[in-house]
């Protein structure tokens, strides 16, 4: 236990002391929140575009932010693997479970703080634009997004373990684009329908945004919240298991 905490603290410090983390994980999502709100103001009501309204935008941006937590997880793991820092730790009593939890725990905390900040800013924006959000909805949405955070962290671990410091960020940016597009963060697939909706529904990202949005609206229906939430939770479990297995296998191979 003390090894996990020690390693988590180190990882947290490494990330929080890198200015890039703030730019990507915090500044960028918040800027998007502002820009899209301004954009929304210039969309005529008759267009029926609802995706940029703060009640939909807030949860979308929260999921968008989580994709950058994935990027930083991948970066941290791949950087450690590239140098001999991991080799040094392999020679200490650290075991693979210590590494896996030690990487995931700080990322989960960072992700929760990130979502909380995005929601606080959303709440302020909602007062300004005059469609006040329910703070309880935002809080429940924050909790709803925990499995989603774990899923993205799992993706990050997986890419960071399998790929180099150079290729991992590239692969993450594919997930970031896919996730924000097919996760219906910037457009409304339910309104589009057709093949597009089917593709979105075949991937987990859509369910992240859907369950988080439903929670913001306190709209806890089976279709709107329960099923999407369960799908995301199942994906999170799978990714956590797969990524920790892959990490352990990689560690074993390194020590061969």
């Amino acid at each position: 236990m003390n090894r996990i905490i020690t390693f988590s603290r180190r990882n947290q410090k490494e990330i929080l002391r890198d200015p890039l983390s703030y730019i990507f994980c915090l500044a960028f999502p918040l800027v998007m929140l502002g820009v899209m709100t301004v954009l929304n103001a210039s969309i005529p009501k008759e267009a029926g575009m609802t995706v940029f309204r703060i009640e939909n935008l807030s949860a979308g941006v929260a999921v968008f932010g989580q994709t950058f937590v994935m990027l930083f997880t991948a970066l941290t793991v791949s950087k450690d693997r590239a140098g001999s820092f991991l080799v040094r730790l392999y020679a200490t009593p650290m075991e693979s479970i210590d590494f896996v939890i030690g990487y995931m725990l700080p990322m989960l905390i960072i992700s929760l703080v990130q979502t909380a900040l995005i929601y606080v800013v959303s709440l302020i924006i909602s007062w300004i634009v005059g469609t006040a959000l329910n703070p309880l909805g935002l809080l429940l949405s924050l909790l709803t997004l925990i499995p989603s955070a774990l899923m993205f962290i799992g993706f990050g671990m997986l890419f960071g373990t399998l790929f180099s410091e150079k290729s991992a960020p590239g692969l993450c940016s594919i997930i970031i684009s896919l996730g924000s597009f097919l996760g219906c963060i910037w457009f409304d697939a339910d309104a589009t329908g057709g093949a597009m909706l089917s593709i979105c529904k075949a991937l987990p990202f859509y369910y992240c945004t859907r369950s988080a949005r439903s929670a913001v609206a306190l709209h806890f229906t089976t279709d709107g919240w329960t099923i999407p939430f369960l799908i995301v939770s199942a994906c999170a479990v799978v990714l956590i298991i797969v990524s920790s297995r892959v990490f352990s296998a990689r560690m074993k191979a390194d020590l061969a």
Binding site: N2, R10, R17, S84, R88, L89, A91, T92
Partner: protein, 242 residues
């Protein structure tokens, strides 16, 4: 015996990195592995510190088998890898504390060990500087101090003075000499004068094999040479490495 290997071999595909290595290193000894690039020094150290599994043969550290008793061995050894391995965004103090915490030291003991390392390595002026911003020499010192903080009985220093200037190298020699007798040290190097200056015993490694092993005087006598460098060249010629 602190270290004992029996017919230790490591093959990577068809390439033999370490070939039938039989070594014994006594407790408290400073033992140098001297060899050119690719001689198998790092591979040997990796096997002895449970970072690599031998293809065949056995290795023992303080009587524990490196393959089957890795947990015990890891408690005994400390390693300073060939490439400096420090956490970039942590300060010197934090790096040292981090390592001590991994071994589960009490708060008092951690503080005391960290203070001791800072003093022993004369790192007071950089103690609160992030590792990222240290010069190569300071990073290397920190990397070695991190290996020492767990109070290892067996310390591996893989090319500790690589890339250091003359003064920094002398300074590090002073530190290593200060450690002599307190623990067993296995050091790799391709600098003759370093092996000459520091070691109790030297093994000359050529293409994965020990070509000569003994005290400085024994190696010089056996090769009929007046210094280690000419002895090394004679041995390498005999082994067909040149």
């Amino acid at each position: 015996m602190m270290v004992e290997t029996r017919h230790l071999c490591k093959k990577y595909g068809s390439k033999t990195a370490v070939d039938d290595l039989n070594l014994t290193i006594a407790e408290g000894e400073l033992f140098s592995l001297l060899g050119v690039n690719g001689a198998g020094k790092t591979t040997t150290i990796r096997m002895l510190s449970c970072l690599s599994t031998p293809t065949s043969g056995e290795a023992f550290v303080s009587g524990c088998n490196c393959a089957s008793q890795a947990k015990e061995v890891k408690r005994i050894v400390g390693i300073s890898p060939q490439d400096t391995a420090v956490a970039d965004h942590l300060t010197v103090l934090e790096n040292l504390t981090f390592m001590a915490d991994l071994y589960g030291f009490s708060k008092e003991k951690t503080e005391q060990k960290v203070a001791q390392m800072i003093a022993d390595f004369r790192m007071e002026e950089v103690a609160n500087q992030r590792a990222k911003s240290l010069s190569g020499g300071w990073k290397r010192r920190l990397s070695i101090a991190m290996a020492l903080i767990s109070e290892p009985k067996l310390l591996f220093l893989d090319e500790p003075t690589l890339g250091l200037d003359v003064l920094a190298r002398r300074e590090l020699w002073r530190v290593i000499e200060g450690l002599k007798g307190m623990m067993t040290i296995v050091l790799t190097t391709h600098y003759m004068e370093e092996a000459e200056h520091l070691s109790d015993r030297i093994a000359v490694m050529i293409s994965g094999r020990i070509a000569a092993c003994g005290t400085l005087a024994e190696i010089k006598t056996a090769a009929g040479a007046k210094d280690l460098e000419s002895a090394f060249v004679t041995i390498a010629e005999k082994e067909g490495a040149i």
